[in-house]
């Protein structure tokens, strides 16, 4: 890793997306429902990225924005949350921009990303996929969607394999991070860890940036080690209107304004113009939210304080000199010493 890269990881979302999300690239959204890296998605739409291939296990408004605003060319999908009645921006976007969709399941999309993260080329798939139309109906992946071979370990049985995916870049939103990019997350992890680690570059947005020592005091909470993180974006409310353990609840009424707007092209464009194109970044978005709905609306989302129980990470804190009673004299008499001549400086 180049030193300058490592030292300049903290940057605004605008810069992170400019640097790591290129037109035509393969974008992974490391989220299943919530917390979703909404601020990153809005920025991708705002920068009008085009011809993206997007992969996500379990999608909601985020994929609808990336399809509805014309960013996406291909979509590896498992589930898209939709209200029952009416045509949505998702459907209009699919038609208008000729988006190709390849269907899998929540688990298999997550597993293909995990396999990518693990450095594998493929991963075994449940045979239930092969028994379904997910196997027969194929889009842009064609014969590479799922393959079936004879199981080399179970004679007479079939083994289904799905490809491992390594997106060019993935986006994820977590609770806290340090300047080196050690990203910490707690609560449900869904696909946040493997969905991130699968990608070559990872843009991590976080509610808070903390000292490295804070990270070191709960190392089991780290889901992405710093050396894998490409961009650190400090983004309070970065997951809004989805929720984030320990920070805020899902904003249902606000989410409903979006869902309703999606039903017609006119109202959808209004919503996007107001909340995506109409603001420059997440802090303006939150500012606009407060101006429109008031502080109380935001305050009501804040969660109650419920800290985890502390655990002891303590060691014996003894050096070997102390532990073994090694004295200077003993060290000077080490039997394997040999003498060399050095300059007397």
């Amino acid at each position: 890793m180049v030193e300058s890269e490592a030292e300049d990881k903290v940057m605004p979302m605008e810069e992170a997306v400019k640097k790591f999300v290129q037109d035509g690239c393969f974008l992974g959204i490391a989220s299943v429902g919530e917390p979703t890296p909404v601020s990153a998605i809005h920025e991708v739409a705002r920068q009008k990225k085009r011809n993206l291939t997007v992969i996500q296990a379990g999608s909601s408004m985020e994929i609808e924005i990336l399809i509805g605003t014309g960013c996406t060319k291909r979509f590896i999908s498992s589930y898209v949350y939709r209200v029952r009645s009416g045509e949505r921006a998702y459907d209009r976007g699919i038609r208008k921009y000729n988006v190709e969709v390849e269907d899998y399941t929540n688990y298999t999309v997550a597993a293909m990303l995990m396999a990518g993260a693990m450095g594998l080329t493929c991963f075994p798939a449940p045979i239930s996929l092969v028994a379904s139309s997910i196997f027969t109906k194929r889009s842009f992946l064609g014969e590479n969607k799922i393959k079936v071979i004879d199981d080399p370990f179970k004679p007479g049985q079939k083994l289904a394999l799905i490809p491992a995916f390594k997106p060019d870049v993935s986006v994820v939103h977590v609770q806290r991070i340090d300047k080196y990019g050690n990203a910490q997350m707690w609560g449900p992890l869904a696909n946040m860890k493997w969905g991130s680690l699968a990608a070559k570059n990872i843009i991590v947005s976080a509610e808070e940036i903390v000292e490295h020592d804070i990270v070191k005091r709960s190392p089991n909470t780290t889901i992405i080690p710093g050396f894998r993180t490409s961009a650190v974006v400090i983004e309070p409310w970065g997951g809004h209107p989805t929720g984030l353990t320990g920070y805020y609840e899902v904003d249902y009424p606000f989410g409903m304004t979006y869902v309703t707007s999606s039903l017609s092209e006119e109202t959808y464009n209004e919503w996007i113009n107001e909340w995506v194109y109409g603001v420059t970044d997440r802090s303006q978005y939150i500012q606009h939210y407060i101006e429109k709905y008031g502080h109380k609306a935001l305050e009501r989302l804040k969660v109650q304080y419920c800290p985890s129980a502390p655990v002891n990470l303590g060691a014996t804190y003894k050096s070997y000199l102390e532990e073994f009673g090694i004295t200077k004299e003993m060290m000077e008499e080490a039997p394997e010493f040999f003498e060399v001549e050095v300059d007397n400086e």
Partner: protein, 294 residues
């Protein structure tokens, strides 16, 4: 630091061990910001010598899943969290080997060998048909790390390993890559107790780069069973600096000062422990044993 011929400078004698020369040399292969997969013993000391010296931002990973630990003393095994003040991340062995090793994120991998051959293949499993240890984590680290550094402390050189635990350059040339190992990976140096070896860019055959202080090229050639090529620019392995010696001896005296010192220390430690038991036994003899629970 070592004396130059014809130098008029005042000189003095210092005491060092082969282990110190080896660990210092091996540590130089780490660059700042590298991701380093380490083991215990020499690999561990080399990694921390770099971290505490010229490569403060390198990230050290252990097989057991400790990422970037800050140890008070050397880790005794790959998941010895008892030695550390904390780590940036704690995970498990499968994640360590998949998302970090197999996925190609290790810059430097440290290995220790029992037997090594002409093309850097390592045997830590069977010597003369007798089982010695096994792979541990070495096979995959040697397979996937971008730059592998091998320490041969008490091992030997063979023209061809009878058993390859960890692939080096296999039969030389591009055979390693033809076997399917990722491009841009492979051993870069071997540090033995007598010298430092590198691999020829094309043939991948091991050659001598430097000899340790007090050792001659002839002496090294004698213990190598093939016609060892020697770099035309062969030089004496640089000595550790005073700061490096200080760190190694204070942090890891039982590695730095050699195996005999380690054995003496452990023997003394055991004796103190046993002496306590002996004195308690004598004190309690003749009267019923008293449990000190109050």
């Amino acid at each position: 630091m070592s004396k130059k011929v014809g130098s008029r400078k005042e000189t003095r004698k210092i005491k060092i061990t082969v282990d110190e020369v080896m660990c210092t040399r091996a540590s130089k292969e780490i660059r700042d910001w590298d991701v380093v997969f380490t083991g215990h013993g020499h690999p561990l000391l080399s990694s921390y010598l770099a971290k505490k010296g010229h490569a403060p931002n390198c990230v050290i990973i252990t097989e057991g899943g400790i990422i970037d630990p800050d140890p008070y003393r050397p880790l005794e095994h790959p998941n010895d969290f008892g030695s550390t003040r904390g780590a940036s991340m704690c995970t498990d062995i499968t994640e360590t080997f998949t998302s970090f090793v197999l996925a190609g994120h290790i810059d430097v991998g440290y290995l220790a060998g029992v037997e090594i051959d002409k093309y850097g293949n390592l045997n830590t499993s069977y010597i003369g048909g007798e089982h010695v240890a096994g792979s541990g984590g070495q096979n995959e680290v040697g397979g996937y790390a971008k730059r592998t550094v091998i320490s041969i402390r008490h091992g030997s050189f063979k023209e061809k390993c009878e058993y390859i635990t960890t692939p080096g350059y296999l039969d030389g040339y591009d055979s390693r890559y033809k076997a399917g190992l990722p491009p841009g990976t492979g051993p870069v140096i071997v540090v033995s107790q007598k010298g430092v070896f590198r691999f020829h860019e094309k043939t991948k055959e091991m050659y001598l780069e430097s000899y340790h202080p007090g050792v001659t090229v002839e002496e090294i050639k004698q213990e190598i069973p093939w016609d060892l090529k020697v770099s035309p620019n062969v030089f004496e392995t640089p000595l550790p600096s005073e700061e490096e010696l200080k760190f190694m001896r204070e942090w890891a005296p039982t590695i730095s000062l050699g195996k005999t010192f380690f054995q003496t220390v452990m023997f003394n430690y055991l004796q103190t422990f046993m002496a306590e038991a002996q004195s308690r036994k004598q004190k309690n003899s003749g009267s019923p044993p008293i449990e000190e629970t109050q």
